[in-house]
Subunit: 233 residues, 2 copies
DNA sequence: CAGTGGTCTAGACCACGGT
DNA sequence: CCGTGGTCTAGACCACTGT
């Protein structure tokens, strides 16, 4: 019963996926172990291992030593998004990228930001507000806090010319970060800056990045109404 | 100059990441090839390959045959989200999961849905509206269209008892899908069902799944105000 | 304890793509 | 062309964990 589907790990992945979708191996069932599959496909166990590892990374199967490999019952699948670099995102749509600094100063951050960045109460951080433009139209509003103790060089940069983000990615590679996505209504200031009505539903992204155990920056991006991010499953 | 950081691929990954963050290998630079690194770390080339492949998957380095491996200049990093299974998501917060079917019927879908699912004009699809509850409070509103030609069994299911999603994941494993995230304002109907004010900004997720070249279902999930999804970078 | 996945090795050949 | 990453092999040992 040699299938001889081919001996590349991708071919094996395809065949395994086919069997799962065809319900040869229904949800919850145990699939043959690596050695048996290797024998069936006529390849090395390493190759089967690679194929199954890639499938497991998508959440469709679950693997445990001794217990074997099982088809996930409720496949809580994983999706991968590219975190957009704004300039690239805008230019890839054929639009001209623009950046406009709105304000800049040393302020005491609001409690939510202060807690997220774990800075002492009363500490002052560099606070920026800026717009990213596509063909001159507001595309994203950026509200950013930067700890100047962690990234001292930022104070010497002319942030009207170079975006803080560009400077940071080039000079302060982070070691850890978190990202969250949510929706919020446009307040009066955002509505004016983004050119939308007050109360409009905005898609927002909040990022917090660290170097070791020190927070570098907290940024909230608010997209103009209608923005979506998409991915394949 | 043997580093002897250890010979596991994870140790090598850690060391390579350290060098990138330490700017030993600044953005845009070429790092040594696999063979050289293997010699330096005193391990097989396969092991180095594995470590670099894992890093490349995060977008921090870019690899091309002959050109070698380069530290990404604008690390358009990738983030991975677990697509939540609603029941699991709610129960993992310690809340009781509830499901309430609001309406069900065969309707002609709106143009956007029809185009996304590539069904003929005028075709009727199964249309569901339901709420997912956490401790009895509305958590997510689900608006779903299902093509009964592709998933005929769905018509025999009592959708008041079993959620359409549960039936589909168990009986109609998809081969392809797309997912998009966006924000929208609550209309009157959603506001009433979710118990929020009309116009509230809602975080929404739209999924479209296929078996081969036929669309199974289109679903839009609208979360009650305040919902976020988060991930590590 | 024993079965299973996880990993490492040394070597080989191949595919891509810059020069 | 030929250097580089991509993959495969056969075998080995190890780590975890269910029984």
């Amino acid at each position: 019963m040699r299938s001889e589907t081919g001996n590349s790990w991708q071919a094996i992945r395809t065949e395994v996926l086919r069997r799962i979708h065809a319900r040869d191996w229904p949800p919850g069932s145990l699939i043959p172990n690596e050695a048996d599959l290797a024998a069936e496909f006529g390849c090395a166990r390493t190759t089967v291992s690679r194929a199954l590892r890639e499938i497991a990374a998508t959440g469709l199967i679950e693997r445990r030593r001794k217990a074997g490999t099982r088809v996930a019952v409720a496949p809580s699948r994983r999706a991968t998004f590219d975190i957009p670099v704004l300039r690239t995102e805008i230019e890839s749509r054929g639009a001209r990228y623009g950046y406009a600094l709105i304000s800049q100063g040393l302020d005491v951050p609001p409690p939510a930001v202060r807690a997220g960045m774990a800075v002492p109460e009363g500490a002052r951080l560099l606070h920026l507000s800026a717009l990213h433009l596509a063909d001159g139209a507001p595309h994203v509003h950026e509200d950013r806090w930067i700890d100047p103790d962690v990234a001292p060089g930022i104070l010497t940069v002319d942030l009207g010319r170079e975006s803080a983000n560009a400077w940071l990615v080039a000079n302060m590679p982070y070691t850890d970060g978190s990202l969250s996505l949510f929706a919020r209504a446009a307040d009066a200031g955002l509505a004016e800056r983004l050119g939308c009505v007050e109360g409009a539903a905005l898609f927002c992204m909040e990022r917090l990045t660290w170097i070791g155990d020190r927070a570098i920056t907290h940024v909230q991006l608010s997209y103009a109404p209608g923005h979506r991010i998409a991915t394949q499953l």
